[in-house]
Symmetry: C2
Subunit: 150 residues, 2 copies
């Protein structure tokens, strides 16, 4: 009799967490397409909205992303009028990025889309399951030091 490895991979927490995560990420990306944005654009808006970073290099570190990627994300958002680039007068190498009022509105709309997705997830669960999921994910997010989308 051959060995029976019945600890099925597809039933592990890791598998489900990563598969569902990718699935939700894809759905979110799809929901953003109408705004001509990718999730990382929203990540950048969120960083600016939270005031955690100003210069592009700081943003790159916070988002755990290459500085060159911040350039193209910012280029796109700037061309949409969602953000502004301002040379730092104190150090003219630095570009200080900030949300325009259009950018603030856009961020609010994107957050609303995420809440719609949340509602769809919630619809599959009892309210106590939902609360437990939310709490567990919150705990994990904190322990992994999750500030920004990777």
């Amino acid at each position: 009799m051959p060995n029976m490895n019945d600890a099925k991979w597809t039933e592990t927490l890791s598998f489900r967490l990563s598969t569902l995560g990718v699935l939700v990420a894809d759905q979110y990306a799809e929901a953003l397409a109408v705004h001509d944005l990718k999730p990382k654009h929203v990540g950048l808006l969120e960083v600016l909205g939270s005031g955690l970073a100003g210069s592009q290099l700081e943003i790159a570190k916070l988002m755990r992303v290459a500085p060159s990627l911040v350039v193209s994300l910012a280029d796109h958002l700037e061309s949409m009028g969602a953000i502004e680039r301002l040379r730092d007068p104190a150090d003219r190498r630095r570009q200080i990025l900030s949300l325009t009022s259009e950018g603030r509105d856009l961020l609010a709309e994107c957050t609303a889309k995420a809440l719609v997705l949340d509602a769809k997830v919630a619809a599959e669960l009892t309210s106590s399951q939902h609360a437990a999921l939310s709490e567990a994910l919150g705990r994990l997010a904190a322990s992994y030091g999750l500030p920004v989308r990777k």
Copy 2:
């Protein structure tokens, strides 16, 4: 006073689920690197192990992946000696894939890696949180019809 959009994106379920999912997926990919495998290789092994599909086209449909990708995944696994390709005698266009005993061992090792990851996730949670997360993810996986990694 400017509008205050304090429904923060980074605190939505969608954000946390997708971010944590990607994070765990990356960690799993890293854990597999020592075997020279990607998560989708393991997905293919799992499909063969579960006996749900034989021909490459059936596998592609089950994995929701392009048939051409199955070719390269199978090429790699075959070159490692983890699977065998056999022409279907009844229809010589079809290749029937099957696990070798090395392939079965490899699958078991990869499942073990996932269980290690599970343990790391579990370590961040109380046992009741862990149970709640597991149940909620199981429910979601079922409702999204999740068979195989996407």
